[in-house]
Symmetry: C2
C-alpha cells in the first residue's frame, strides 16, 4: 500500500555533499520529517560543467528520487538551481523548492538599502539567477555578484578559520563591499561552514543570508500550506544516497551535517 | 589502409585539462609526433573519487583512444597512473607510459641525499605510488609525501603568483622541507604552472622534478627503442577530445598548453 502523501519523505539533492548543510537546516526546522538525500559525488563539482551536462545529470537524480516517492523536492545545489530548476518544475508534479529562490526572497526581505551582495560558484554567478530572483521581487534592488571558486576547496580542506581562507575571502569580498551592501547572500551550500569568518570579514553592517536556512523555512511554510506536514512524532528516517564514496567522505559529511552520517548507500546513475 | 605503426599518433589522457602540460612537454620534445588528447572534463576531478570508479572511467578512455589507433599511451594524470596504470597495461598491447613511473625514475636519478619530497593530490598520496616507484629503483631512498588539495583550484583560478598561493605552498611544504629533501617531485600535472613559485618556496638547495617533462623524455626514448618515431617532417596533427567544455576552458587550456588550442571536440563516454 502506498504511503499517505504527508507521510512520504522530503527529497533533497546536490551535486555532492554541500547539500548536507541544507539537510541539517531541514532537520533542525522540521524534526519530524523523513529525508532522502542524494549527492552525485562521482560527478561533483557541477559548478564547472556546461549547462546541458548539468541538466542531464539533474534529471537523472530527480527520476531516482521520484522512485523513492518523495512528497517535495529541494534543490540543495545552487548550480543546479540556477541552471535546471525550471526544467525540473516542468518535469514533476510535486512541489520543487530551491536554494536560489529561497535565498533571493530572504535577501529582499532582509535588505534596507536595497544593495545586496551575492557570493557563489562561477556557474551560479554566470547564470545570473540570484539577480533575476531578487529583481522579480524588487526591481529597484541592486545585486552585486562575486564568483569565489576557491571557497569550496578551502571548506573541503577544513581550513574554516585559516589565514589563507581569510585572505581569500578578503580578496573576493573587496569589490562587493565597495558597493555598500547591507546584505550578503551565501550562494553556495558550502559557505555556511565559513559563516563566522565571512561575518567578520563582511563587518557588522552587513547581514548574512544563509540560503540553507532560508530554504528550510520555505519548506516548512509549503508543508503547512499544502497540508503535507508529516503527522509522525517518532524518530524520523534519514537515508543518504551517493554515486561514490570518496576519501574523507564520512569526516567531511559529518562536518557539513553537524551530526553522525548513517544509512549511507552507494548507487550508480547512468554510467 | 591502416597507417604504418610509426605514423600513428600518441594517445595522451587525463581526467581534465592538467594533462595538457604533459602534451606541451611532448610537443616540445617530439615536434614531429601526432597527438590525440583525451580529457574527461565532465567527470573531473578524479582525485576525490574511489578506486573502482577511477578504474572504470580510465578503461572507457583507453578504449576510446585505441579506436583512434594510437601507437603508445601516456597516462598524463597522476591519479589514474597511481590507481589504474597496472590494469591498463594488462588490457592493451601498445606501450603505456605514465607520469608517476617517469617522475619516480627522474627523482631517483636526481637526488644525491636520497631524501625525496612528493607533492600531489590526496588520492595520489594515499595510493603511495611514488614511494613504490622510487623504492623499486632505490630501496635506500626516503620519500616524504604531502597532499596539496588546494593547489589545483589555485592554478585553475589563475593565482599563479599570488600571496594566497604562496602561503598555501608554505603550509604544505613546511613538513616536507623539514625532512631535508634535496629533490621535490611535482606529482600533479597542474603544478608545472606553479614551478616558479614552488622553486622560490622550496629554496635553492631543492631540485624540482617535473613529471610532465620526465614522461616526455621517457616517451622519446621508448619511440627510438621500439623504432616507432614518426618519420614525417611536416606539421604534426593535434586533436583534443573532452567530455565537456566548461566555463573558461579555452583560456585555461591555452595557459596549460602554452599555445592556442584548436581542433577541440566534445564526445560522450558511457553517460
Amino acid at each position: 500500500m502506498p504511503l499517505a502523501r504527508a507521510s512520504r519523505p522530503i527529497g533533497v539533492f546536490d551535486s555532492g555533499i554541500g547539500g548536507l548543510t541544507v539537510t541539517r537546516a531541514l532537520m533542525e526546522r522540521l524534526p519530524f520529517e523523513d529525508i532522502v538525500y542524494f549527492g552525485d559525488t562521482a560527478r561533483v563539482p557541477y559548478g564547472v560543467k556546461s549547462v546541458s551536462t548539468i541538466e542531464q545529470f539533474t534529471h537523472q537524480i530527480v527520476d531516482f528520487l521520484l522512485q523513492h516517492e518523495v512528497k517535495l523536492l529541494v534543490i540543495a545545489c545552487n548550480t543546479m538551481a540556477a541552471v535546471a530548476a525550471d526544467s525540473v518544475r516542468r518535469r514533476v508534479s510535486v512541489p520543487v523548492l530551491d536554494v536560489i529562490d529561497a535565498g533571493a526572497r530572504n535577501a529582499v526581505a532582509t535588505t534596507r538599502s536595497g544593495h545586496i551582495g551575492v557570493i557563489a560558484t562561477p556557474t551560479t554567478v554566470n547564470s545570473n539567477a540570484y539577480a533575476r530572483g531578487v529583481h522579480a521581487l524588487n526591481p529597484e534592488a541592486r545585486v552585486y555578484s562575486q564568483a569565489c571558486p576557491l571557497l569550496v576547496p578551502l571548506v573541503e580542506e577544513g581550513w574554516l578559520d585559516h589565514q589563507v581562507t581569510r585572505l581569500t575571502a578578503q580578496e573576493y569580498l573587496r569589490p562587493v563591499l565597495a558597493e555598500n551592501i547591507d546584505t550578503l547572500v551565501l550562494g553556495c551550500t558550502h559557505y555556511p561552514l565559513l559563516k563566522p569568518l565571512l561575518a567578520q570579514e563582511a563587518g557588522p553592517t552587513v547581514r548574512l543570508v544563509d540560503s540553507a536556512v532560508s530554504v528550510a523555512e520555505q519548506v516548512a511554510g509549503t508543508l503547512i500550506e499544502l497540508d503535507l506536514a508529516n503527522p509522525q512524532r517518532g524518530e524520523p528516517n534519514y537515508r543518504y544516497y551517493v554515486t561514490d564514496i570518496p576519501l574523507r567522505f564520512q569526516t567531511m559529511g559529518e562536518r557539513f551535517l553537524g551530526r553522525s552520517l548513517k544509512h549511507l548507500e552507494m548507487v550508480h546513475l547512468g554510467n
